[in-house]
């Protein structure tokens, strides 16, 4: 008995300052503004693209790792998956939700990486952020300027989660990368249930594991 309480006291001496100190910094830390966050990541990705363009399968795999580490933490994939799945999400078990999120994440990340491969030094600009104090949802609007065409807009829908902003939808030229999957997913669920959708996504993702090497060079 004596021994156990000693341990607790020592733990208390060590932990308490950490708790207080840690809590203090958490309270003081303002979440990074959503537009600043997006701009920083976009600049970093574009800078990296200039140095390491995606030309081979190896490049692609390296990029997937990089995206996983640097870009994905700023996304709320669960909400994205919920928005893609639609009303059937209500009936999904926690386990099904987890697997759906995993598979959809893979699908989106691969799409993102393929889009990066098409990057040809287009200039990225941001529109001024329209946000009122206390807003928990904002749209960060950017657009790529390409010669000989109208600019392509890329809007990031972001929500304040705890102390950081997370992306929950990306809208390219007016088309949501998330909700435009809803009919497709809905049909599959209607035909084969939620497990059917999970299986279909898993198959799709397994097939796309290695990308055709010639895809980067020809149309």
């Amino acid at each position: 008995m004596m021994h156990r309480s000693m341990v607790w006291r020592w733990l208390g001496i060590v932990l308490l300052p950490i708790l207080i100190f840690g809590w203090g910094t958490a309270v003081r830390a303002e979440p990074k503004a959503p537009d600043v966050l997006v701009k920083e990541i976009a600049d970093e990705v574009i800078e990296r693209l200039k140095q390491k363009p995606i030309q081979s399968d190896e490049d692609m795999n390296e990029w997937l790792v990089y995206v996983e580490e640097r870009v994905l933490p700023h996304f709320n994939f669960e909400r994205m998956t919920m928005l893609a799945v639609g009303p059937a999400w209500r009936q999904a078990t926690p386990e099904q939700r987890k697997r759906l999120t995993e598979e959809f994440k893979t699908l989106l990340v691969r799409t993102y990486a393929s889009a990066l491969r098409e990057y040809r030094n287009e200039k990225l600009e941001f529109r001024p952020l329209r946000m009122a104090p206390g807003d928990k949802t904002v749209r960060v609007s950017s657009y790529f300027i390409r010669p000989g065409g109208e600019p392509i807009s890329v809007d990031y829908m972001m929500e304040l989660r705890g102390d950081s902003w997370k992306v929950f939808d990306v809208v390219v030229a007016g088309v949501s990368l998330v909700t435009s999957y809803r009919s497709t997913f809905g049909q599959e669920i209607q035909a084969k249930g939620i497990d059917g959708l999970i299986q279909m996504l898993a198959q799709k993702n397994a097939r796309g594991e290695t990308l055709p090497a010639d895809a980067a060079t020809q149309g």
Partner: protein, 253 residues
């Protein structure tokens, strides 16, 4: 704005074919997977045909164009067609009551057609006069005309009835329609289609193989894209919550 006899005939014939198809498919499909797509059976069949035609004819032509021409030349060609489109943008902006935008479009056209060497250089964009994207379908939407069901047309692709009805107006409000001589006119139109298709190639490659149901994806993307254009890039978006506590109601601004 009078159609030639043969064109009227072709138009009528197309409508007759479409109507027959819709009636047939209307009987065949019992439950549409999308409320705006009651003719899904017919639409899917037509989509397959269009998609095949794209794969065999249009896309290869666009790829050749894309590979043969150096980038600056492609930019010039794209700018040239984009410049012609500014007249239609101006007309539609005016019809929608966006007078300032309409004058912007006209100014773009004047500037690019002269100093921009017939539109090959887009100096207006560099001067900060923004490019718009307008057509008569958007104008009808702004006027309050309902959208109607989704319909996949031969060669022209999928669109709702409102945008379908707007097609003749779009056709006759584009400068290439008034090029002298049929051969020249249709060469211009064909070239424009190939150039526009080539501009889509990067997007094409990015989603290649990742689409589970291309038809459903393209249809839903079309609805979203049109809504976005009608609202000039600021569509009201509602994000639902399916976690069981109803609609959370916050929307982006």
């Amino acid at each position: 704005m009078s159609m030639k006899g043969s064109e009227v005939y072709k138009y009528k014939k197309t409508i007759a074919v479409l109507a027959t198809g819709m009636v047939l498919s209307g009987c065949a499909t019992s439950q549409p997977s999308h409320p705006k797509d009651p003719f899904e059976g017919f639409n899917r069949a037509m989509f397959q045909i269009n998609d095949a035609l794209d794969t065999v004819v249009l896309r290869p032509a666009a790829v050749v164009y894309d590979n043969v021409l150096p980038s600056p030349a492609k930019t010039g060609v794209s700018n040239f067609f984009s410049n012609l489109g500014d007249l239609r943008n101006a007309a539609n902006n005016l019809l929608q009551g966006k007078v300032e935008a309409a004058f912007g479009d006209l100014f773009r056209f004047a500037l690019n057609s002269t100093w921009g060497l017939l539109g090959v250089l887009d100096i207006a964009s560099e001067a900060g006069i923004p490019k718009h994207n307008e057509d008569f379908g958007q104008t009808l939407a702004v006027w309050g005309v309902g959208d109607g069901p989704y319909l996949v047309l031969p060669l022209l692709g999928g669109r709702n009835i409102r945008d379908t009805a707007a097609l003749p107006v779009d056709y006759y409000s584009h400068p290439t329609t008034y090029v002298e001589g049929d051969a020249a006119k249709y060469s211009f139109k064909a070239a424009e289609i190939v150039v526009k298709r080539a501009e889509l190639l990067p997007a094409d490659r990015a989603i290649e193989g990742r689409m589970i149901d291309k038809y459903a994806y393209m249809r839903d993307a079309y609805f979203q894209r049109r809504n976005y254009l009608i609202h000039d890039g600021n569509p009201p978006i509602e994000y639902e919550d399916f976690n069981g506590n109803g609609i959370d109601g916050d929307s982006g601004r």
